[in-house]
Amino acid sequence: MGDISSIQEKRRSVIQDAIVRQNKKRRLMDRVFTGVTIACIALAMIPLGSILIEVVKNGASAISVEFLTRPQGSIVSGGGGIGPAIQGTLLVVGYASLIGVPVGVLAGIYLSEYAGNNRFAYIVRFFNNVMTGMPSIVIGIVGYILIVLAVGSFNITAGALALSIIMIPIVVGVTEETLKLVPHSIREAGHSLGIPKWRVTLFITLRSAKNGVLTGIVLALSRISGETAPLIMTILGTSLFFQFTFEGFTDPVDALPLRIFRLAALPYEHAESFGWGAALVLILIVLSLSMALRFLVLDRRYKASGGARL
């Protein structure tokens, strides 16, 4: 018996020593790891911060009521504003989401609620993933060939179509994923009340996943608001306001990213200042868009405390 307890004693001290040694190492590793994560955060924030600071510093002085509402003045002497670009961005992005949101959400619903694991769904998912990474200039060319060549001029529909093609795969993916997070028991509860499947899907399942789907839509909207390449191929850019007439739909339209691109290429000082101003306006639009919807979502989450947080 004495032997056994002395062996045990020995083992305990060996284990104890190892733990003490490990502890020193562990504390050091803890510190190193925390330091590395903080350094990476800082690294990630530097570009974001410097972009914001630079844009605000250079762009804030350009902003005025005239700048926000007037079309551009003389190229050489300056004056006027970027009214058509702001109007154009809101219109093209709005138009694109009119196409992209319903198509994306409904396709996501199909994949999550109706397709199961059939071959067709597999193919759709695969191509959807490919589409997410499609270079946007290629999508611009599609818009050019499909609409611009058919209509005979650059026009808003071509731009909206191109942007919606960028938007749809994002919305499809997020919708499918969030719907799959809704517990199956919620759907069954709906079915057990004798509610037809399409109503269960729209008014119970989708409603339960609303926060996630909205977040996905905002993500997609932010992404397309800043797209430039496909717009060059589809709406071209102009210094005139969009006219709400039949002809308006066959004329080029302006957009903020396009305006920034054009202004940056001009050798005049006022153009440079306008470019910064336009960049600031674009950032503010994207920011307020995502913040507005975020607050709606966050507010709901807060109210439904204890509920399924999706």
């Binding site: 919620i186 069954e188 439904a304 509920g307 399924a308």
Partner: protein, 285 residues
């Protein structure tokens, strides 16, 4: 001595059930004529190649509580999910046989499984209120989403159903609160109220108290006794004491077969099959 009052155990004598196989030879029409609400005939179910239910036959009397007991995996949940055609919505599940609700086979051609679910309510194992809906909307959901627009009627039914589920007094001041904000036991009663709002004739309950604490469970057991005045209740339970306390009839299932079915008193005090006796006395399970 025979008491024919609805809902009492004595409505069918033990002798009648002692040789219950005789009853199974009743046609569904004969069963209906004798006051049986639900008659199950030759019901089989499979998941893939595995048979989950083997030739189940039994009749459930109107305004009674029938409990299904048996070890895990014996098919009791599958069985009650077959009674409102919920089972077939599980991928890979197949069902064959007949379930008569009154005199109608719910598995007959041309019967819409959606409309069947309006007559047969269901309460699930875990409370599952609709997470983004208020307490009121949870109860009203079945009505609203089935196209009922009459606000006054909906208000009436919501209050009635919440009273029926013994929840009204606890939530009447806060019907606008999210359904997921109340306690687990209250959520389960909310789910019962949600099912009651559709005025079902039969209520299926799949281990409704297994996720609840004893006090919340007791409340629901108490509730069942009131509910059976208006409905026929079939309840799956893991808890034999619960089956003994609440039910008029008990069915013991094992490996997908119904081993024994009869008045609860008989099943627990004088089981006819050795397997039942061994399960009841805790020798396996």
């Amino acid at each position: 001595m025979i008491n024919y009052q609805k809902g009492s155990i004595a409505a069918v004598t033990s002798e009648e059930y002692a040789n219950s196989s005789v009853d199974y030879k009743l046609s569904s029409a004969q069963a209906y004529a004798r006051g049986y609400k639900v008659s199950i005939r030759n019901l089989n179910s499979w998941f893939g190649v595995k048979q989950a239910l083997k030739n189940i036959n039994f009749d459930v009397k109107e305004n009674t509580i029938t409990s299904m007991i048996g070890p895990s995996g014996c098919g009791k949940t599958t069985l009650i999910r077959c009674l409102n055609r919920m089972n077939e919505m599980t991928p890979g599940a197949a069902v064959k046989g007949s379930v008569y609700l009154d005199d109608v086979d719910i598995y007959a051609n041309g019967i819409d499984p959606v409309t069947i679910k309006r007559r047969i309510g269901m309460v699930f194992q875990k409370p599952n209120p609709f997470p983004t809906m208020s307490i009121y909307d949870n109860v009203a959901a079945g009505l609203k989403l089935n196209g009922i627009r009459d606000k006054k009627l909906i208000n009436e039914i919501v209050e009635e159903s919440l009273r029926g589920a013994a929840l009204w007094d606890e939530v009447k001041g806060e019907l606008g609160k999210p359904g997921s904000s109340i306690s687990g036991g209250q959520q389960q009663r909310l789910c019962i109220a949600r099912a009651l709002a559709m005025q079902p004739e039969v209520l299926l309950m799949d281990e409704p108290t297994s996720a609840l604490d004893p006090i919340a469970s007791a409340k629901i057991e108490e509730l069942l006794n009131d509910l059976k005045k208006d409905l026929t209740i079939i309840i799956v339970t893991h808890n034999m004491q619960q089956a003994a306390r609440v039910s008029d009839y008990t069915a013991f299932m094992y490996l997908g077969e119904m081993v024994e079915y009869g008045p609860t008193k008989q099943i627990f005090e004088n089981p006819q099959k050795e397997l039942t006796e061994r399960y009841i006395s805790g020798k396996f399970g």
